[in-house]
């Protein structure tokens, strides 16, 4: 078996190490030992996400992810779920723009089972895939879409924002859940072709983290995955490159049955994996992360025009990342008042940059988030796969926090000045169908935290 190099703990990795290996069929393997708890996490990232989907088949990558739990040659129907849960493990899969991941966290002594299961479906899914599971999971996914997006207030906001921020035809123009029409249109043959195109060992990274014996683990990986043939038929995803700034302010006003007005916006930000993206993360944290952020202090505490105000960052490697502003208005406050305040705060920040204390706070927050991510074997396994798939080097996961801590206040100011500008955002405004006052006569049904 071809063995990779053995890494030693790098400075700032918190004592964590990872080793890299590659099977002859191209499967990349990352191992990280940690014997504190008798558990082992298995994580498999396939380098395929919604950005690989073609017109008329949005949602296919995610629908396909569901089909991966419907059995393979040696695993009947829901056997994958049954066997993992019956072994005391937990499992799931998720689909995003840039990847599809599958993961099991197992008691140590059941690790081999998880590897066997993942290999079985990587190598033989099509032996079990049939119309019945396709039709059933199509209905399940459509209900997932209804439950998470269509049946909740503001549920489709993210979909609308990405559609605005990434132009028509761009691979990130649509979100992984896909449209109802395209979900209806997907065929069994589409699913088969998708599998043959993207599900191959040389298009995946497998990480195993926790209470493992690396040599034994590698031997199991070779035994179960080693004979799965690799293939090179995968087309490159469409180019996600875009100008750094949009160049104009895009805007959509949605009149819907929502409980309050809302101002949302998507800003184009630097790609993940760059120092500028880390700087942008710090900028958004100072401006809109947590209870001491500038926007929270301004809109929620001082002006009292918002119920909640914050910024989030969607890191993307193959296209500009997305900074997502979300402000829900208070009472009868109108959106322009909020927008003016947001612009004022962003302009001030672009001019002055963060204070030393704000930098310290933002870095402390992001450091804790990293400790949380790397504090569980499953979180660590996922991050190792992420850096291996998107940036070619899993070791980068272990030093990510150092890179965030190395960013300077000036770099934060710079990225804010360059990107957090009105001509670099897509704005989404929600206006309730009736004015908020119309709710006054229905006090009866208001309020519940139960």
């Amino acid at each position: 078996m071809p063995m990779g190099h053995t890494a030693t703990a790098e400075a700032g990795s918190g004592g964590l190490t990872a080793t890299e290996h590659r099977l002859a069929n191209g499967l990349r393997v990352v191992l990280s030992e940690d014997h504190l708890t008798p558990v082992a996490a298995v994580c498999l990232w396939y380098d395929v996400g919604s950005r690989h989907e073609v017109e008329g088949r949005t949602g296919l990558a995610h629908l396909f992810e569901h089909l991966m739990f419907q059995g393979s040659k040696q695993v009947h129907g829901n056997g994958h779920f049954e066997l993992v849960q019956g072994a005391g493990g937990s499992l799931n899969g998720t689909t995003s723009f840039e990847r599809t991941n599958y993961f099991e966290t197992m008691p140590t002594h059941q690790l081999e089972l998880a590897l066997w299961l993942e290999a079985d479906r990587m190598g033989s899914l099509l032996a079990a895939l049939d119309d019945e599971s396709m039709e059933n999971q199509r209905d399940v996914v459509k209900n997932e879409r209804r439950q998470r997006y269509d049946n909740v207030p503001y549920g489709t906001a993210f979909e609308k924002l990405t559609a605005l921020a990434y132009p028509e035809g761009h691979p990130y123009h649509h979100t992984p859940i896909g449209s109802m029409a395209d979900l209806d249109a997907a065929t069994l043959e589409d699913a088969r072709t998708f599998f043959r195109t993207y599900y191959a060992p040389n298009n995946a990274v497998l990480s195993v983290v926790g209470d493992i014996d690396p040599e034994q683990t590698l031997a199991w990986v070779e035994k179960y995955f080693g004979s799965i043939p690799g293939h090179d038929g995968k087309p490159a995803p469409r180019d996600g490159g875009l100008p750094e700034v949009i160049g104009e302010q895009l805007r959509e006003v949605v009149v819907e049955d929502v409980p309050a007005r809302a101002l949302m916006a998507a800003y184009r930000l630097p790609e993940d994996g760059t120092r500028a993206c880390d700087a942008a993360d710090l900028a958004l944290t100072v401006l809109g992360g947590g209870e001491s952020s500038r926007l929270h202090n301004r809109l929620v505490r001082r002006d009292r025009t918002a119920v909640a105000a914050g910024f989030g960052l969607l890191r993307l490697a193959g296209a500009p990342s997305l900074g997502w502003l979300d402000v829900k208005t208070s009472g009868g406050v109108e959106v322009p008042a909020i927008e003016a305040a947001v612009d004022e705060e962003l302009a001030r920040f672009a001019a002055e940059g963060p204070t030393a204390e704000e930098m310290e706070r933002a870095q402390a927050q992001l450091e804790r988030e990293w400790l949380d991510r790397l504090g569980t074997v499953a979180g660590r396994a996922d991050e190792l796969c992420r850096f291996a798939v998107l940036f070619g080097d899993p070791q980068l996961a272990l030093t990510a926090v150092d890179r965030v801590l190395a960013v300077t206040a000036d770099e934060v100011r710079e990225v804010a000045a360059a990107r957090l500008r009105p001509d670099n955002r897509a704005v989404l405004v929600y206006e309730p169908v009736e004015g908020p006052e119309a709710d006054e006569n229905s006090d009866e049904e208001e309020g519940a935290d139960q």
Binding site: T37, G88, A127
Partner: protein
């Protein structure tokens, strides 16, 4: 399938592997102690967990809120982190975040919970801030007014959320109007509007004191002199001794019936089917956990096997038991419920199937195989579930809040392993009797009312 079969020829298949020997694991046993001021302390060293979790439970239950001031416990809990006599609200939040900490404080039926998570290197400073919040909160009139207004703004958002709306209706249906449990935990528009700084201060003075509180500290405490840290922080908290508050009896009307909360145009029906049952002090709890898991714990459980994996009516339906409140004397109760979302046109057929699943279970019982898988899962996932300090601290604090012994969770795993199929069947069948379930449906009444009436699962009423 033929070309698929061709590509399979090159993969070598192996039989399903057998498990190795399990490494023993036990739910951590905390060390119990008390500070001079009467504060109970549970501590638990978890190697490798660099983010320490601190949970402080205060015996300030919702039923202690004065008449007409529902929500005052919530506003008080939120106001704790909105400034102290030493520093204003903005400075307090900034100092806490400078520690890389998160702080959450909320009020529920049993009392108020303050939850801190912070990297161990900054534990002393962050716990100092939490102590400051508990010892000398400012309760500034203007800040309280802001929190009240903010809470009022949240209410319409909750009403518009189908699952929150369903829960509110179910509690209203189950409990007598005079019981605090029948009303929203965080108050209604009328009651929240009546809350001011004086009311918040009065609630704090009456209930928040170290003798009525327990702090749980979990994480990698290597090199931390926790006694010293506690003495310098929570040790400065003073207050009168506290007698435990008696718990009002919990009763519920589980006459089988259906309430449709009309949400015109909804593409799905949010369903919440519930009644109350025993709490963890009851000997049946372990069997009930097991049986309820078999009914609706995961997507291979009975409900999802039909509703999701066979029919595709839903993204998932879950059954669960959740303790509402316990007093340690056997008078406590839990909410037993089934929840999920069904696409609107299939609401009637899905409910029909759901009832069939319950009837089939009552008639035929669980199989030994189902019971075995459930035990293996519930017991086997424990080391995964309790990997982080926060998850251990939350369970220890739940035990405190429910008047359970510190080794309750550890013993629960032993009891689950001993529980047989017959006991698990009996527990889940008596947890969900088909004629004693209150069904709340938040959905488009114009489309779902008739099909639901036709099922004959109880009187149907429609509310807006």
């Amino acid at each position: 399938m033929t070309d698929a079969a061709v590509s399979l020829t090159s993969m070598e298949f192996h039989p399903q592997p057998q498990p190795g020997a399990a490494r023993p694991w036990a739910f951590p046993a905390p060390e119990r102690g008390a500070l001079d001021n009467g504060l109970t302390v549970l501590r638990c060293h978890r190697p490798g967990q660099q983010v320490v979790a601190v949970e402080i439970f205060v015996d300030a239950p919702l039923d202690a809120e004065p008449e007409g001031l529902d929500g005052v416990a919530t506003i008080m809990a939120r106001a704790l982190s909105e400034g102290t006599t030493e520093r204003g609200a903005e400075e307090f939040a900034a100092e806490l975040e400078r520690c890389g900490a998160t702080l959450d404080a909320h009020a529920d039926h049993p009392g108020v919970r303050v939850s801190l998570e912070v990297p161990v290197s900054r534990l002393r400073k962050a716990l100092g801030l939490v102590a400051e919040a508990l010892i000398s909160p400012a309760f500034d009139a203007d800040e309280v007014k802001r929190l009240v207004d903010n809470r009022l703004d949240e209410i319409p958002h909750e009403a518009a959320n189908p699952s929150r709306r369903a829960a509110k209706q179910l509690y209203k249906e189950l409990f007598p109007a005079t019981a605090r449990m029948s009303r929203p935990r965080q108050g209604t528009k009328e009651t929240v509007e009546a809350i001011d700084a004086e009311a918040v201060r009065a609630f704090y003075d009456a209930h928040v004191r170290p003798a009525a509180a327990t702090a749980v500290v979990v994480g990698d405490l290597t090199g931390v002199d926790l006694d010293e840290v506690l003495a310098e922080t929570l040790g400065g908290w003073t207050g009168k001794p506290a007698a435990p508050r008696p718990m009002p009896p919990i009763t519920a009307d589980d006459t089988g019936r259906v309430v449709i909360v009309d949400r015109p145009g909804a593409v799905q029906t949010q369903l919440l089917i519930g009644r109350i049952g025993p709490d963890r002090h009851d000997a049946v709890w372990a069997a009930q956990v097991l049986g309820v898991y078999c009914l609706g714990g995961t997507l291979t459980s009975r409900l999802d096997a039909v509703l999701r994996e066979e029919k595709g009516y839903t993204y998932g339906v879950r059954a669960f038991g959740q303790v509402l409140r316990s007093d340690g004397e056997g008078h406590g109760a839990s909410m037993l419920a089934i929840s999920g979302s069904i696409d609107t046109p299939n609401t009637g057929p899905a409910l029909d199937d759901l009832w069939k699943v319950l009837r089939t279970l009552a008639e035929g019982g669980l199989t030994d195989a189902e019971r075995d898988i459930a035990v293996q899962n519930l017991v086997g996932v424990a080391p995964l579930k309790y990997e982080t300090a926060a998850s251990v601290a939350a369970t220890l604090s739940d035990q405190v809040e429910q008047h359970l012994p510190d080794d309750y969770q550890a013993r629960l795993y032993a009891r689950l392993a001993e529980t047989g199929t017959v006991e698990a069947t009996a527990a889940v069948v008596s947890a969900f009797p088909v004629d004693r379930l209150v069904t709340v449906l938040v959905g488009d009444a114009a489309q779902i009312e008739e099909p639901v009436r036709a099922l004959g699962i109880g009187e149907v009423t429609v509310v807006s």
